[in-house]
Amino acid sequence: MSSTAAGLLQVGFLLVALAVVYRPFGDYMARVYTGTTHSRVERAIYRTARVDPGSEQRWGTYAQAVIGFSFVGVVLLIILQRVQSVLPFDFGRGNVPPGMAFNTAISFVTNTNWQSYVPEAVMGHTVQMAGLTVQNFVSGAVGMAVAVALVRGFTRDQTDRLGNFWVDLVRGTLRILLPVATLFAIVLVATGVVMSLKSGVTVDGHTVATAPVASQEAIKELGTNGGGVLNANSAHPFENPNGWSNLVEIFLILLIPVCLTRTFGTMVGNRKQGHVLLGVMGVLWSAMLAVIWTAEANGLRPLEGKETRFGIPSSALFADTTTATSTGAVNAMHDSFTGLGGGGTLLNMLFGEMTPGGVGTGLYSILVMAIIAMFLAGLMVGRTPEYLGKKLGRREVTAAAVSILAMPTVVLIGAGIAAILPSTQGALNNPGPHGLSEILYAYASASNNNGSAFAGITVTGDWFQASLGVCMALGRFLPIIAVLCLAGSLARQKKVPVTAGTLPTTGPLFATLLTGAIVLVAALTFIPALALGPIAEALL
């Protein structure tokens, strides 16, 4: 079988698998977030944490809870890393340096999983399991909670309550992430992924590091986290041994972001609203896959930086998926991609991580973009703009604008400063356009909470540790606050009935408009920067 045919077959498998789970899993998630009963374990958690699961929060309180919870997560994670030397299973790796601990803590709490460290040299199993893995779960659940709060903004009528963050967090973790991750950890072990508490195995005198990989691998993909237990990430045979494990991992990455569109459609009472979002996500994901795949297949050295056991199609499929979902796991070296292919992965992130984006973040990001698109569309049909029965006025547009502004601001300022710092030249492997691409990629990855590395850039210096940490935090929490504010203002509104004059948001016209808006916003914002990086490189 040719490599192309094998690739297409994999894509086919993937789509069929997603189609099969789309309805049941999407509806299941809707039930999770709309149900009124609490399991015994959940009740025990609420009692311990002194949370009244029956009370609901205003957007401000909800946002405070998100920020507070995340802040505590960062502090705990820093402490855990800084006292690693006294923890079991540290294998003498010692305390993590302060800058790296700061960067890593923010990275995992913000669901970015940018790794400035070499895991098998720096992190022991305790920090991995009790720190990083825990954040892999809860940071994903936070993203989903925010998305659900925004959806409630659309479904609710004249209320200032958006739900209870603690309930959403606990349910997302216990009822969605934990069971699915457990199941797939076993599946991954079956495909050959390592699960061991030993520090490594020695073969022919060479020691190869091992870790409890499978358990973390499942949530690494499912929660669109992407932080590898081993430095080579999913290119490492212990994390991703073969074609089947590769396919399972890609499936896990896409599972929640894709099915959340169903959850959304179910919750707003019109599944077509979810289908159209999925359609837009699908079109852009497919288009970028085609770009990356074609670019890589026609590159000068097509297999450079790629695992021979995956080949070009599987590497392109993984690269497209991981950058379009804010995951950041990699099974190939993006730095070795062609100008166009690497630019494709970069553009995927610059779309704002909504094709289909990370768990929860993808849904709320595309909804914000839909609001902007519908605002213009509403004007163009001569009515005060509305979306899903809510008017888009000053407050809504402001909140949506802030949410959209955050990422480009952080990327451009961060990358701009980095480009002129004298120290940067020393951190880069490549001069010229490719060097600029490396800088852009690093800041796009951090600010979009993707976490994948173009590599080719040494990011352990203080500037990078600090600035990328700040980018990750701002890129995560500014949009979250704006989105929750948006949700609050939507929920307060009275629902506008659908009349014959309402612009339908379920057809191809809306899909085209939304796709256009996503592409145009990214293009207009980043074309100047891209021109000097990937575009200049691709035109060579």
Binding site: G382, A415, I420, T424, A500
Partner: protein, 679 residues
């Protein structure tokens, strides 16, 4: 089912033109010249600060000017000049829009002059010192000194100063025709007017403020759009500012002039420059149609209307019932019936009576004038007891009247019931107690109404007819006129309840009204259009006044409201879509020196880096001037479904916005390259 046979001149005047589109306003290039001084005044920073997008251009112009002085060359000076031109053109657009209103305000001011009020107490005070509640005497030839209600007398009034309509109107005390407007002239008779507004807040004052745009506040949608435009401006500011470090990194530092030029080209200057002109012109279009809105918000709300309440009488139908058919019964011939009906109505001065004669004349060739013999007949007027009227001619006693005034056979009863069921009013005609037949009186629906309601339906607006008629009649008229729903036997409180119920469901309701009992409903509705002929109470309660007192005007108001939003949306889309071409012009010009391969992006084949950048700047400025007429006129609006509108506007202004600048910049470059020092 029914046909009109004749129309009175007054009815003809009010005929709505079926399927009329919002017509374009007039734009005369001379206006650009006239408004030039005003445009210059708008360079003041306080004025510029109000518009974030243009403020950035203004700051950019200063910056470039400073740098151009430091490094003078044809290119740097040309860029500086064209950046200033961009600001100037934006000022000009606004000044032209305001200028149109100023002329109107001038003529209105004239009406305010020299009004002297004679109080009933005998005192004489200037019109500007009148207080609410003052009673003023106005006689023929005098100007009414202030807004008020006629409390005594009846007069013909020339309202042409306000409405532009030269035919005088009748104003009388009591009823729904009592309101008079300050500045209008009494032509005959004498009236006593009770003043209802304070000086300075009168109708004319409000109108002046409105057309001058002095009190113009940004409407909610305009504010939201400004936020979006500011966001885009910030994004582009960041993109351009961040470009410099990337350029330095790549070894090709850029000059401040080039970066500023890029920034100005990218930010949405086209819509930013035209935004306030669009708003002013929208209000102006309303004024041109003789509609006064109290706020721009109301005009915007008009575009959002979901439900339209229309009074049946006078709006959907002609108002009075007209004879539309003769149905003989019991062996009587049609000719006998027509003759008897005509005879009975010859001396009947009621509109119904006249319409019976009209029908006999036009359809059956009878004479409109009574013969000498017929003149000898004695007219028997209608009384509540007999419920009939008619004529006694020799020994013939001819009567016509409601069915209850006659003894009916089964056949006649069937005809009567059938007419009632169709929404008509049956009048039985009898000659000496022998029933000859039945006259059908129908409420005649104005021509073109069905088409207009179909248009409204296409726009997604539901029309509800409100009538005091019984449900049967209401249903028939509703079906004939093609309205979506009707409210029969409606009392003012029913209307109110209907509005509340619609609003409860989140819908926006518009209505027209003129009577005092319409005032609460006018106030409750989201868009309430009061007729100028109506009472002061109604005019106060509504948020718009129609000087022509044409209830179908509401449909045009809705269209103007929609057109206003569409113009903003379309030009925003156009403005943003333009950026693509500008990137293709400027980026290769900036960076082909360090990355020669980027020269491949110069798809327009622009002559040199300098000519490319200057051409983009010139295009960016000129497009504002080119689009001023469109901003003032509004984009073409034809009632259609939301999807159809969006598709059309996306094609024209989205796709058009991508293509136009490629052609425009290329053309400008052909000229610019000829300038020595640029080429």
């Amino acid at each position: 089912m029914t046909t009109t046979t004749q129309r009175t001149p007054e009815q003809t005047r009010q005929t709505p033109i079926p399927g009329r589109q919002v017509s374009p306003g007039i734009f005369n290039p001379r206006q650009l010249l006239v408004s030039f001084p005003d445009a210059l005044r708008k360079f003041h920073p306080r004025h510029q600060l109000r518009n974030p997008v243009m403020f950035v251009v203004w700051v950019g112009s200063i910056l470039v000017t400073v740098f151009a002085i430091g490094d003078p060359s044809v290119f740097t000076i040309a860029v500086a000049v064209w950046l200033w031109a961009t600001v100037l053109f934006a000022n000009l657009a606004e000044a032209v829009a305001e200028g149109r209103g100023k002329a109107q305000a001038e003529s209105l001011r004239k009406t305010k002059k020299d009004a002297v009020a004679r109080l009933t107490t005998g005192e004489t005070v200037p019109g500007t010192e009148l207080r609410i509640g003052d009673l003023v005497v106005v006689e023929a030839g005098e100007v009414i000194p202030g807004d008020g209600d006629v409390v005594e007398g009846i007069a013909t009034v020339d309202e042409s100063a306000i409405t532009g309509e030269s035919a005088p109107v009748i104003r009388e005390s009591g009823g729904d025709r009592s309101a008079v407007t300050g500045g209008t002239t009494v032509l005959s008779d004498r009236i006593i007017v009770k003043i209802t507004t304070k000086p300075g807040e009168s109708f004319v004052d409000r109108m002046i403020a409105l057309v001058e745009g002095a009190e113009r506040q940004k409407t909610p949608n305009e504010i939201a759009l400004t936020i979006l435009l500011s966001t885009l401006t910030i994004i582009f500011l960041l993109a351009v500012v961040a470009l410099q470090p990337f350029a330095v990194f790549s070894g090709g530092q850029q000059s401040v002039i080039v970066l500023t030029a890029l920034l100005v080209c990218l930010i949405p200057t086209t819509i930013g420059a035209l935004l306030s002109a669009i708003g002013i012109a929208g209000m102006d279009r309303l004024v041109q149609r003789n509609v006064l809105a109290t706020s721009g918000k109301a005009v915007e709300a008009a575009g959002d209307i979901d439900t339209l309440l229309l009074d049946k009488t006078g709006t959907i139908t002609w108002g009075n019932r007209r004879a539309t058919g003769f149905i003989p019964v019991g062996g009587a011939s049609l000719d006998d019936l027509v003759d008897a009906a005509r005879l009975s109505s010859l001396a009947d001065g009621t509109p119904e009576g006249r319409s019976i004669v009209d029908l006999a004349v036009t359809e059956y060739g009878r004479s409109a004038e009574p013969t000498d013999r017929e003149k000898t007949g004695e007219f028997v007027p209608f009384t509540a007891q007999t419920r009939t009227s008619g004529i006694d001619l020799g020994d013939r006693r001819i009567r016509k009247g409601a069915a209850s005034g006659f003894v009916l056979t089964g056949e006649t009863r069937r005809v009567v019931d059938e007419i009632s069921a169709q929404g008509g009013t049956p009048l039985v005609v009898a000659d000496n107690d022998a029933v000859l037949g039945v006259i059908r009186l129908s409420d005649v629906v104005k021509p073109g109404m069905r088409e207009r309601f179909a248009e409204l339906r296409a726009m997604g607006i539901r029309t509800v007819m409100v009538t005091g008629d019984n449900p049967l009649t209401a249903k028939a008229i509703a079906a004939e006129a093609g309205v979506d729903d009707y409210l029969a036997e409606a009392k003012p409180e029913d209307k109110m309840a209907l509005i509340r119920a619609e609003q409860e469901g989140g819908k926006l309701v518009a209505m027209t009204g003129d009577g005092t009992n319409d005032a609460p409903a006018l106030a409750q509705s989201d868009v309430g259009v009061a007729m100028n002929t109506g009472t002061s109470a109604a005019k106060e309660a509504g948020n718009m006044v129609d000087l022509d007192s044409d209830p179908t005007k509401l449909i045009e108001i809705v269209e103007i409201g929609k057109q206003l939003l569409i113009t903003r949306g379309a030009l925003t889309t156009f403005s943003v879509a333009n950026d693509l071409a500008k990137y293709f012009a400027i980026l290769p010009a900036m960076f082909a020196a360090i990355h020669p391969q980027l020269g491949g992006l110069n798809v327009m084949g622009l002559h040199s880096p300098n000519s490319a950048i200057l051409s983009a700047v010139v295009f960016n400025a000129l497009i504002i001037v080119v689009l001023i007429p469109l901003a003032l006129r509004g984009v073409r609006y034809k009632p259609a479904s939301a999807s159809a509108l969006l598709r059309r506007n996306l094609l024209i202004y989205g796709l058009g916005g991508i293509v136009t600048p490629f052609a425009g910049i290329w053309l400008i470059d052909l000229l610019v390259r000829l300038i020595p020092g640029i080429g």
